[in-house]
């Protein structure tokens, strides 16, 4: 049966309705629309291509298999980003439990101790995938974002890369609107602090 309208020009709600009616093309359209934003958000947070693909895939499988439970009074994009963000945060929490920080061990209080416990990277030969990751995430702003807290990262990415309004970010993160505004303000301040020395060097 041919769809009653053109899927690429339809709104998210209309595509979701078609997906609920069992139209596979509608499912594919939703993946096509959100694969890049979702992957970018997760990739910037976990900074590993393969893992990001797995988490993005997990996000879409979860979303599409539960499409019947989606409530149309919420934005579809908010729902997708919420699940993606939760997947990335869960992974970071799990990782935090069993890995050392790149910035040094948790008990490192002196500069020498930080240096001694910091992981040495870049010495070993990089695989093509690692080279690609280094190229993609190696710019000053990308590195600065990676040093922010995960909540700040999500806020900055959703606001400045995805162009999402504050209220939608608040809905995605399940935070009050004021908190989101504070997070973005603080995140920008931290970014400026991180980037300022680099600007002076240039």
């Amino acid at each position: 049966m041919a769809p009653p309208f053109d899927l690429p020009t339809a709104t998210d709600q209309e595509v979701v309705e078609q997906a609920r009616d069992g139209l596979e093309a509608a499912y594919r359209e939703l993946v096509r629309r959100y694969q890049r934003p979702v992957f970018s958000l997760i990739y910037r947070m976990v900074r590993d291509r393969e893992l990001s693909e797995d988490l993005a895939q997990e996000t879409f499988v979860k979303v599409l298999n539960a499409i019947d439970r989606y409530r149309p009074e919420f934005k579809f994009s908010s729902w997708v980003f919420k699940i993606a963000n939760n997947a990335a945060i869960d992974h970071l929490r799990k990782k935090e439990l069993d890995t050392l920080s790149l910035e040094g061990g948790p008990d490192a209080t002196t500069a020498e101790r930080v240096e001694a416990t910091a992981l040495q990277i870049g010495d070993s030969g990089e695989s093509p995938l690692e080279e690609l990751e280094a190229r993609e995430l190696g710019s000053a702003i990308e590195r600065a974002i990676s040093r922010l807290r995960p909540e700040y990262q999500t806020c900055i990415i959703l606001r400045h890369v995805e162009g999402r309004p504050y209220d939608e970010i608040a809905e995605i993160l399940e935070l009050p609107l004021g908190t989101v505004k504070t997070y973005i303000h603080r995140a920008r301040a931290e970014l400026r602090e991180i980037l300022d020395p680099l600007r002076e060097m240039m």
């Binding site: 993946v31 992957f39 693909e53 599409l64 920008r188």
Partner: protein
């Protein structure tokens, strides 16, 4: 005052630079085939009408109306059976005549046709067998083969039905 103005301007300049840097952030794409990989794990949804029936069924159970529906159906069946039985009893003569005429006009001819076809097939098979003349040696060979096949099968069955022999494993404990 001048310092403050300078500081504000510097902060604004910083913001402009930061905004420019943030605006330079781009989207990344997953590896090709991502869409297919996702779709391979998505369960195909049931057609809408099946889900509609399921939804209605669930609603019937949830609201407790299923018991009323089943009770109503059972009651209606019993009632209709009683009505039919009463009608049959009251018009026994007419019903018997109707079935007799139905048997005479449809049932009996159909039965006769079936018998005729069966007899025809049996006659055909019999004439086919009669047309084949086998010599005594061939009949003896066929019978001998049959006896051999039966004996061989009996022997195989006998072997298969034996309990499995327990193999005694001797452990070598020498160093």
């Amino acid at each position: 005052m001048n310092d403050r103005t300078y500081s504000n301007r510097s902060r604004e300049d910083d913001d402009v630079i930061l905004d420019r840097q943030l605006a330079s952030l781009k989207h990344y794409s997953p590896a090709p085939g991502f869409e297919d990989r996702v779709m391979s794990q998505v369960f195909p949804p049931a057609p809408n009408w099946i889900r509609g029936i399921r939804r209605r069924g669930r609603a019937l159970v949830d609201t407790g109306r299923l018991r009323w529906l089943l009770g109503g159906l059972a009651g209606a069946s019993v009632f209709s059976m009683c009505v039919v039985s009463t009608l049959v009893i009251l018009n026994a003569g007419a019903v018997t005549a109707f079935f007799n005429s139905l048997c005479a006009q449809v049932g009996l001819p159909a039965w006769r046709a079936l018998l005729g076809m069966t007899a025809h097939a049996a006659r055909g098979a019999s004439s086919l067998i009669n047309s084949v003349t086998l010599s005594g040696q061939v009949v003896a060979a066929v019978l001998a083969s049959l006896v051999l096949i039966v004996t061989f099968n009996a022997w195989i069955l006998h072997r298969l039905m034996q309990p499995a022999e327990v193999e005694k494993v001797k452990f070598d404990v020498s160093p």
